[in-house]
């Protein structure tokens, strides 16, 4: 009573909604968004189309990207091949779309205000959005994995995984390699997502986020082809992306090529999320 009359207001305690509930709501929102569903469907189509194509050509892959000539009768390779096809553009597009909608899109719709006024603290908001983007990456990779393994088994057949070294790994070992590739690619995409979130926290226009993120990757790819700039290459996120799958297909397994990409991804995630948080704390709601 005295506290109320003295302050003119009861002393209010900080309160906040349970983080799990927020997160569940965020992930439900992401996965119900029509464009996410379309992107996931396109990802599912990649291994199916490759599988059907090679099966229809009677097992002749007829050249093409690396690994493709090994696909016939090597079904477990299909998820990896699909991953390599989706990695340069399709997966980053899916990730940057999710990150674009996460903050810039919500700001554009005006729904970000509702969250800030609830209130969801700004740092919690970034955490919730980052986990949401990570969930989209995980779901996208899982779709590639499941459809890749299934269509490999249906259209290409094979028992176990034939490696670049010519040996054949058992199904379990082969599956292990595929999952390892998924984890490695997850970290790379998480780095893309962190950069996209940083842009997302700085603008109200989702298109800027997608253009910025994909533009960055394209520039990185161009720069990585200029040998005079090889001092710059260790800083480019895309360095090592294409050789990663090949490294996983050697027997015995060598992980020498994975340290660099992992370290790079970690740096990009830390810088990206840091910038996203700073931008979020300072942006107009």
């Amino acid at each position: 009573m005295t506290a109320i009359t003295l302050d003119g207001a009861p002393s209010l305690q900080p309160r906040t909604a349970p983080f799990g509930r927020l997160l569940a709501s965020e992930i439900r929102l992401l996965l119900r968004r029509p464009r996410t569903i379309v992107a996931l469907a396109v990802l599912a189509l990649v291994p199916v189309l490759i599988g059907v194509g090679i099966w229809a050509a009677g097992g002749d892959s007829g050249g093409g990207p690396p690994l493709f000539d090994m696909l016939s009768g090597n079904g477990l390779l299909l998820p990896l091949a699909a991953l390599m096809v989706a990695l340069p553009l399709l997966l980053p597009l899916t990730v940057s779309m999710a990150a674009a909608d996460a903050i810039a899109g919500e700001a554009n719709h005006g729904s970000l205000r509702g969250l800030l006024l609830a209130p969801v603290g700004r740092i919690r908001l970034v955490a919730m959005k980052a986990i949401g983007v990570a969930a989209v990456i995980a779901v996208g990779l899982s779709v590639l994995l499941v459809f890749g393994v299934l269509s490999g088994w249906i259209f290409l057949g094979g028992n176990g995984l034939i490696t670049l070294s010519g040996t054949t790994l058992s199904f379990v070992d082969g599956m292990g390699r595929v999952l390892l590739a998924m984890v490695l690619i997850f970290t790379q995409l998480a780095a893309v997502g962190a950069v996209a979130l940083a842009i997302s926290a700085s603008t109200d226009h989702p298109l800027v986020v997608m253009a910025g993120t994909l533009g960055m990757l394209i520039v990185f790819t161009v720069l990585s082809n200029i040998s005079a700039l090889d001092w710059l290459h260790p800083m480019l996120l895309t360095t090592g992306w294409m050789s990663m799958a090949a490294d996983l297909l050697r027997d015995p397994l060598t992980l020498d090529g994975t340290g660099g990409p992992l370290l790079r991804a970690g740096c990009y995630v830390i810088i990206g999320l840091g910038l996203a948080t700073v931008r979020m704390l300072n942006r107009e709601g």
Partner: protein, 323 residues
């Protein structure tokens, strides 16, 4: 030792406790890229009041409200809600605050109900098991139950506005802030908003409602602040602002002579106008004037109160704006 130091007045007796303020701003100022949007705004909104923030478009109402809610950082000055500094105390204060700012903002492909569930998940004061009931009640309160399961993108402007109001009312609030709540609403919708505000007021909720329409404010508010070009040009209880300046009543009657006699007997000053008489109320009540006229047997066809104060002020402001 010093015994006297221990003896003191009971708390609150020495200084009479100031009436609780739900919202207060001091020297609030906002500059956007060299343009002063809001300057030296000092608002005091008593607990339980309904404050009408009145002003033409672009007068700084929305910017002021955004600073109140911690959405925009002031260039100078500060904001307190329930005695807590904003935006530092956002997590203490905002759970008690419902707001509709700058129009409704929702996900287009989610239904009205889906959008409210999204916000319900973020409401600190709402238990998960109560979310269903709270969402349905809020939809019901704004008359959206029938359209609740349709996608938001198919809503009319009025329906969107109602959903925004439903979001502000999702849980019981101590303060509700409504920025131009009747935008896009038809007359029936405007009336419903007034009823909602009336209901909030009856429940003791403090309300801050901005509008560029005087009639809206007059019908629902206890307090008014008038803004123009970023500064508050008048503020106070509605009654005081309205009675500032001379209030007159135009009495339309077929028997001007009898009316003049009755008014003279009762000490009202009056002057003739074409339809009858213009009566100076002074500090008296229009009800008393009409009662005296009717008791005196004067046929009163119509009595119209002409206000000074707020109405004149607002007319001047808005005309300036148009010119």
């Amino acid at each position: 030792m010093t015994v006297t130091a221990i003896v003191r007045e009971p708390a609150g007796a020495a200084t009479p406790a100031a009436p609780g303020l739900a919202a207060r701003t001091e020297g609030l100022r906002k500059v956007f890229r060299g343009t002063v949007a809001v300057d030296d705004v000092n608002l005091a909104v008593p607990d339980g009041a309904v404050l009408g923030l009145l002003g033409p478009n672009g007068s700084g109402k929305t910017t002021t409200i955004r600073m109140l809610l911690g959405l925009t950082a002031p260039t100078a000055g500060h904001v307190e809600l329930f005695g807590h500094r904003m935006p530092e105390a956002a997590s203490r204060v905002l759970p008690e605050v419902g707001a509709l700012v700058e129009g409704p903002g929702f996900h287009p492909y989610l239904s009205g109900r889906g959008n409210l569930f999204r916000l319900a998940a973020a409401e600190p004061l709402l238990n998960s098991r109560d979310a269903d009931r709270a969402v349905s009640e809020a939809l019901d309160r704004v008359g959206l139950s029938d359209a609740a399961n349709r996608a938001y993108k198919g809503y009319s402007l009025g329906m969107k506005q109602r959903l925004g109001l439903a979001a502000a009312l999702l849980v019981p609030r101590r303060l509700v802030v409504l920025d131009e709540p009747t935008n896009g609403l038809d007359p029936a919708g405007t009336r419903e908003i007034r009823q909602v505000i009336g209901g909030l007021r009856a429940a003791g909720t403090t309300v801050i409602v901005s509008s560029h329409l005087l009639a809206e404010i007059e019908a629902t508010c206890t307090h008014v602040a008038v803004m123009n070009k970023g500064v508050v040009v008048a503020q106070g209880p509605l009654r005081e602002l309205l009675s500032d300046g001379s209030s007159t009543v135009d009495v339309s009657t077929s028997d001007t002579a009898a009316a003049a006699a009755v008014l003279r007997d009762n000490g009202f000053a009056a002057q003739p106008i074409p339809e009858g008489l213009r009566v100076e109320l002074g500090d008296r009540d229009s009800a008393e004037l009409i009662r005296q006229l009717v008791l005196g047997g004067v046929p009163v066809h119509e009595a119209t109160r002409r206000r000074g104060g707020l109405e004149e002020l607002f007319a001047t402001l808005t005309e300036e704006e148009r010119g």
